[in-house]
Amino acid sequence: MAVLTHKSLAAQDHELSESDKQLKLLHEAGLTPFQDKLTDTGLFPLKPMNLDIFQINMGKMCNQVCKHCHVDAGPDRKEIMTRETMLECLEAIDKSGCTTVDLTGGAPEMNPDFRWFVEQLSSKGKHIIVRCNLTIIVANKKYNDLPEFYKKHNIEVVSSLPYFSSTKTDAQRGDGVFEQSIRALQMLNAVGYGEEGSGLILNLVYNPSGAFLPPDQSELAGTFHAKLKDRYDVVFNDLFAITNIPISRYLQYLVASGNYNGYMEKLVNAYNPMAAENVMCRSTLSISWDGYIYDCDFNQMLDLKVATKGQHLRDFNAQDLLERSIIVNQHCYGCTAGAGSSCGGTTT
């Protein structure tokens, strides 16, 4: 198991574990309101295009305590989705007509009903994505067969690997994480994941280990492919370059390291109208462990629920959700900077 080097902000009673404190800080920067930028681009109020992706946060429990985690996840977080809420998810999924269900956490695999839930989704014929932190596969014997389980349900595995070396990876994700991640990637490769022609998709996620924007996604992908193959005989499909969003633990890092103002200015100056057009919240719904509905995982962590009458799965109304206005705030600059950022990488 990855060495626990930090506690979650919540366990520390850190003030930035509270969403209102985070929002206050984001406003105190005195930067152009994101809403004004969207207005200039002709996109305010921001409207959904469809409800194609259902992203479900299955709980905040995780075996890692990454420094940049926007969920503030960790072994000390006990919030976890129950089977009852999963049943409500399944009903809502039917009503939504979505094609893809994206499972995240924490480490979603730590939810005791994870496999049951995947089986239900699989029987519905949905495209399933699991955001796997890799180390969970080698964290305990009971997780060692996850690659086989993913394969059985043709799950798309999306995994974070900030760099092809241990220094940067461990600095962000914890001591020993790189070595364990490589072992897990080799296990995924062994059942066919990432192998050409296997149909089993293994995508990696890069996010900057610090206060800077991600490099060009395709250039970086080329380097990752070459280095991982050469050094570790690891193969994968695509690399998603994701911008760190200034909330939760990453926000705390920015403040503590004196990079907060510089990073926010950078995000605002890098505002790209084309990226704003393609933000993921226009085609995604985000569900929390307790069944509330949000425009995205970041809004979820800031307790900004959808602007509809029913905000819980039990009141799910696809038409209302399609007609809603998406809640935006200053953190949204993270998704519109440069080449844009989403859970599937750049958006332009």
């Binding site: 924007l213 991600p214 490099p215 060009d216 250039e219 380097t223």
Partner: protein, 110 residues
């Protein structure tokens, strides 16, 4: 504390056009063109700029091109190797003048 260099001044770089708009405009157009993709990529130019920044010891340029190089996917080892290139050229530039010293020494000696 008042110092000759203020990191905040980097953001005011564009203000040099205030005192001479025409030349300022031409300079920034040129600057933009130099760093666009050409026979060399933007990424390659970024690393050259990082090395030159060190050779010229420009603190603004070092800040700017350190961040730029990171955002173009260079790691610390590659960036330090670029600084060594600047260091080697600076050192070499000093040392190669040793030949001039030797020539003069010999000229002045019996």
């Amino acid at each position: 504390m008042k110092t000759y260099y203020d990191p905040e001044d980097l953001k005011k770089f564009g203000n040099i056009s205030d005192f001479q708009p025409e030349l300022g405009k031409k300079f920034f157009e040129y600057y933009g063109n130099v760093f666009a993709d050409g026979a060399l990529t933007k990424r390659e130019k970024s690393l050259i700029a990082l090395a030159v920044s060190h050779a010229l010891q420009c603190p603004y340029c070092i800040d700017a091109y350190t961040q730029d190089a990171m955002e173009r996917g260079y790691d610390e080892e590659q960036m330090m190797e670029a600084v060594h290139v600047a260091g080697a050229i600076r050192g070499g530039a000093t040392m190669v003048h040793g030949v001039q010293m030797m020539n003069k020494y010999k000229e002045l000696s019996m």
